[in-house]
Symmetry: C2
Subunit: 313 residues, 2 copies
């Protein structure tokens, strides 16, 4: 079934211990879409500027992604500049040029209205809420956010959280959102704010899914999922070139697999966690979207098998 | 089969967000022994002072641990003072009073000489090497170390590493020992220094075992283990009272299970990783050795099952 994603389609300038890149294709919606496109149909809503060329859009359309919802505006695209020289696990933001994103007003094309799954990538929660409102009939809503919105736009963010079947954030964001340092208690407190379930990403160590007692999407077997979290490992990698987009790629693999199955049984959710980890592991192996551009489904399933082998008794 | 462990038997004074304790029973050999005692026979070599009373020794003997190798010396026992108030994941050492440990000279009782497995807990590598030399016939040698020995006693430590079938350390120690920040490359570099295999502990995220191409103990199926690491998850816990001894308890569960099986097939090593994680998770639930004192094998196996459930597809 199809996923509609709203979020940033952007350019990134970054440096990591492996090298430096200027204005390469990036953005949360871009990474998410590419990762999810290996599993299901994906439709994107975003805004780009005049520097966003047909060759950039082709990166998405070559993977079958529907880009009808990408608005082309006057000016420059959103541009993030960051460095991982100090710490490969935490980006140091050097500049955030919102450009056309500053006045972004998401518009949903009529052809997108029958989308089954909605993903609200990391953008202003006011915009996330507006998109969610226009898509009342989706089977499931998942979303992401970041420290900036948690700290400075909490009221708006809480309105979005109340609408989510799944929130995907990282350890630091979970601590910040809950004000609690213990991971399990933080997860319970975050779910008490609204999301029916929560996926917390641990970088190289994988991710943990937590489930509240409320229903998870159209899940029939809620009972089994209720109590226990589920933990997917990260794959030990010898070359981490660029962590940008790892979390969005995780989300794309996770949500893309769920949408491809159309149900959220415990088995599907567990496999989705593994596919999320697999897609995150590929994303970091090259700069920007490079690795996802050349990836094949066979490689994905091979790595899924590796992840199983290194974690199963 | 029996394990001989040499290391500290000590007192800890510590404060954590859950409270404060003065001079409670601790030490690497103590935590290791208690954890391993649920799986196999354990014999301890260490030194204590006049403040170490029969009630302290009884904590070990009640679990069937052979304490004939604990030397009683004039003076006070080794005493560590630390705080976890700033960060529950990293102890802040406030004082280290070596006391009788300063002149410790390990002596191996004749009744210990037929021990099958040797564990060199975190002590001066000169002493580790001396004990190892006196036990030439053991099936397998495992060991631990810490930042202090890595930084200031590297030459002595390298002599011990060359003798190890398994080295158990944490992420920070692996980075420090190798000088490499990438976890997989760091593991390969550490094994190049000597240990045939390596277990790197990730705190709440579990641990990863790495295998070199050299044989691992008496492992027959080296081929299968050669390439792939194995990752055991940590169990998400809502109450972490005192992390002291978690790593030693992991080692005790890991090595105790291996010794109980007498072989190091891939299946045994994988289960050992899970038992290590299980014992570490119990250790942190109360202060010092409290939780391990009341633990039962049934609780251990129940938690082993939980760990499997939260990590297996």
């Amino acid at each position: 079934m199809s996923i509609l994603v709203v979020g940033s389609v952007a350019f990134d300038s970054l440096e990591t211990p492996s090298g430096k890149r200027e204005k390469i294709l990036g953005g949360a919606a871009t990474h998410f879409s590419l990762a999810a496109s290996f599993f299901t149909d994906v439709r994107v809503i975003g805004v780009v500027g005049e520097d966003f060329l047909p060759e950039h859009e082709a990166v998405m359309t070559r993977r079958g992604i529907d880009t009808a919802g990408i608005e082309h505006a006057k000016g420059l695209s959103f541009h993030w500049t960051g460095s991982y020289l100090k710490d490969l696990n935490a980006a140091d933001t050097l500049a955030t040029d919102l450009n056309v994103f500053a006045t972004f007003e998401p518009k949903i094309p009529a052809s997108y209205l029958d989308s089954d799954y909605l993903f609200l990538a990391n953008i202003d929660p006011v915009l996330q809420a507006r998109v969610r409102k226009q898509m009342p009939k989706v089977k499931m809503v998942a979303g992401d956010t970041m420290n900036y919105w948690i700290a400075a736009h909490r009221e708006n963010l809480l309105k979005v959280l109340a609408e989510l079947d799944v929130l995907l954030i990282n350890d630091g964001e979970a601590r910040m959102l809950s004000g609690e340092s213990n991971a399990l208690r933080a997860a319970q407190m975050v779910m008490a704010l609204g999301p029916k379930s929560l996926v917390v990403k641990h970088g190289e160590y994988g991710a943990t899914a937590y489930f509240s007692t409320r229903s998870f999407g159209k899940l029939e077997q809620t009972h089994e999922l209720e109590q226990r979290p589920f933990r997917a490992p990260g794959l030990p990698l010898s070359d981490v070139v660029d962590p940008t987009g790892a979390g969005d790629s995780f989300a794309g693999g996770f949500y893309g697999y769920i949408a491809s199955q159309g149900v959220t049984t415990p088995e599907v959710v567990r496999k989705a966690m593994f596919y999320g980890s697999v897609m995150g592991s590929f994303a970091v192996e090259r700069f920007g979207t490079e690795r996802l551009q050349t990836l094949t489904r066979a490689e994905i399933d091979e790595r899924f098998g590796q992840l199983r082998e290194i974690s199963h008794l």
